[in-house]
Symmetry: none
Subunit: 225 residues, 4 copies
DNA sequence: GATGAATGAGGGTTCATTCAT
DNA sequence: TATGAATGAACCCTCATTCAT
């Protein structure tokens, strides 16, 4: 479908000094500018409702230029989602590495997770991906794999350490990690996704949710220690 | 220019010569036929990517006929989603009313819930709604309200009965109900939504998930009884 | 173009008592009802912008019935214009036959003419005919011939009598008749036709116009008598 | 959704990334080409019966291009009528400024006027405007105001000069100007408008008409001089 | 290399006309 | 006979993509 893509990896070409004249579509600043415009338009309107003209306008570049950097609308969209995913899931896992107590750590991570996933921008991005993932399955897979999945793996690894340390008693760590994450955003994630909630959850609400999540989780998996 | 030939409130009215109120689009079989075609197309492709021509073809009726039954693409879509929601969430709550023991009841309900929500059709429907709910907020609200919300309320009522009977000890019943539901589909819901899983979860997997959910839930909220 | 027309003349069939069951499209009341609906819609919106549905609604009959009485939209339109013309130009020429003095008679006729031709309904009808007369030339010809032309002929005949009586001295009576008619509506006809005037001319204005018309006309064609 | 790419006041504006104000539709030759095609189609068929596809074909440009230069069918039509009016009424008033005798001047002007207004193209244009002026009142007003009205004003000014010079005795100059103009095209204007005449009036006929008009006019308003 | 004017297939919608009831 | 649901061609308009400048 996307043969001939110009920017397969996120290669920004390390040898920009060797040749003054760059090959078409190799100016990272321009690329960023386009992606930035695309972000505003795609995330706000979704893939179909967004027009290349809108993006042209939002990015402040000409139509032709976009087509130099991206083969077509789809590829531009894919590149944007890739970027967006990286932005969203950056700096999410710090809480798991700070070495505080179990309850504190889980609480901090849970809050960060729930805040992130219910923030307006992230919600829109998720909706945009969900909307398209039937038509562009790769895109959904990639997004989940390098986004939520990564978080899950980190959490599972953390739980594994706790189990090994005797602080938790979990038979299926993978499952437990999913359980904790879902408990943290219980009730709110789907409500936000479907637009049933028009307001972003307050920090207080999220804290309450996560506090209960930690309690339930520890009631199930905690040890006497 | 000539709207108002449909059966809604905007019907012409006011013209003194209009003998009978024209009420077009009354044949339920035709209506069903159209909706059925719309389902195939909308659910498969989403609102934007679906064309009225596609639907025309899928439904086996002429374009004009669709516009006798539905004012425009949006109304057809809304009618379809309404239908779809009713179909999906029918017969979901029986498990809660069969009067078996707590563990059995929760397990039965959890399995029904998880099976339903991860079935291919229901997933596609959910994606379709999520995709559009920014542009048609009412639609998302309605879908959630009369779908998942209804299930949540039934479950909360059931939990309330158990608390009153001393079988559970829950301080925030509403929250607990969300927790149980999310525990039942933990891990799989998002994976399905983003298309990370291409295969529908097996019944075995769901049973495992729900069994764990019940255990965790009862560990947190069960009483000695 | 209109072969197969069902109602060539305005025959209302004199033998309606001979057979109880009428041939399709022969009920004069129904015909009138349809034409009445068509009038409202066609005259208000013009041929193209009017839809058969509008007419259906305005007439209070079914689509099928209209097509029993009239072969198609065009024929219905033609029949309506025919009717309209008859209505408009009825009782226009009485002033010419009352036997008063020249000045009085010309004034009375001129006023009647100018009032008629600038009345909102008549203006709309004229616009409707003018709009279509390129596409349906017959219709314009017929309308003019049996409408304005008829008035012109009556006026010319009247002037002829005056010339014969020595009350006027006119070399080209035909031309003089046109001149008088145009003098009566001078300035206002075109202004109304183009919608430059949004208000119908007042009777006072018309009287002034006609008074001047008579004066000019008599200055040119009057004799000492 | 993407309006605002035209050169009118609704231009996007406000998007901070829009570098240069995009101003599409700037090539006068192309614009002319489109208007030329539109002329052929609109003037021949009228607003409603003309399709944008017809115009596309007649102009030899693509559909999209038309929409770059004109926001929609209506705007294209308005632009065309504007153009048409300018073309029609250019060089109409020279006769009034050549400084010949009254009779000669009036005759020359009257002939020019009558020739113009009954020429096939001008007639069609007038019909087209009259047809639409109920639905687009501004358009009719403008056409009359800047077309016929302008001629009328020039004529009235000319008559005023003659009155001041004692060559004519007119109490209501405005009215007299209308009278002269209408006398010049007496009989033929309406006949042409309704298509009663299929042939354009001959120059001879018009000369006869105008000669009579001048005679009548001077009989009414002339002085001994 | 960058531009944006041009393209034309395809979008949603309307409506004159037909025909089974 | 009268009805109005059904038809599908044709309507106006949009937009992803190309290519001359």
């Amino acid at each position: 479908m996307n043969a001939g893509s110009r920017q397969d990896a996120t290669d920004t070409g390390g040898d920009e000094l060797t040749r003054k004249r760059r090959v078409a579509g190799q100016d990272p600043a321009k690329r960023r500018q386009i992606i930035e415009g695309a972000r505003r338009v795609f995330i706000e309107m979704g893939f179909d409702a967004a027009s290349m003209n809108d993006i042209t306008r939002a990015a402040g570049v000409s139509k032709g230029t976009i087509y130099v950097y991206f083969a077509n609308k789809e590829e531009l969209f894919e590149a944007l989602i890739e970027e967006e995913r990286q932005t969203i899931f950056a700096n999410m896992y710090e809480a798991l590495e700070r070495g505080h107590g179990v309850r504190e750590t889980l609480t901090a991570y849970g809050i960060a997770l729930a805040l992130k996933i219910t923030s307006p921008t992230v919600l829109k991005a998720q909706r945009t991906v969900i909307a398209i993932c039937e038509r562009m399955p790769e895109l959904g897979v990639r997004f989940y794999e390098r986004g939520p999945k990564r978080g899950h793996d980190k959490l599972a690894a953390y739980l594994k350490r706790l189990v090994d340390a005797g602080e938790l008693a979990i038979s299926d760590i993978d499952l437990a990690a999913y359980q904790f994450a879902d408990l943290c955003m219980t009730g709110i994630f789907r409500q936000c996704l479907f637009g049933y909630r028009t307001e972003t959850p307050t920090r207080e609400e999220i804290e309450r949710n996560v506090a209960s999540a930690v309690t339930v989780f520890l009631a199930a998996y905690g040890t006497s220690r």
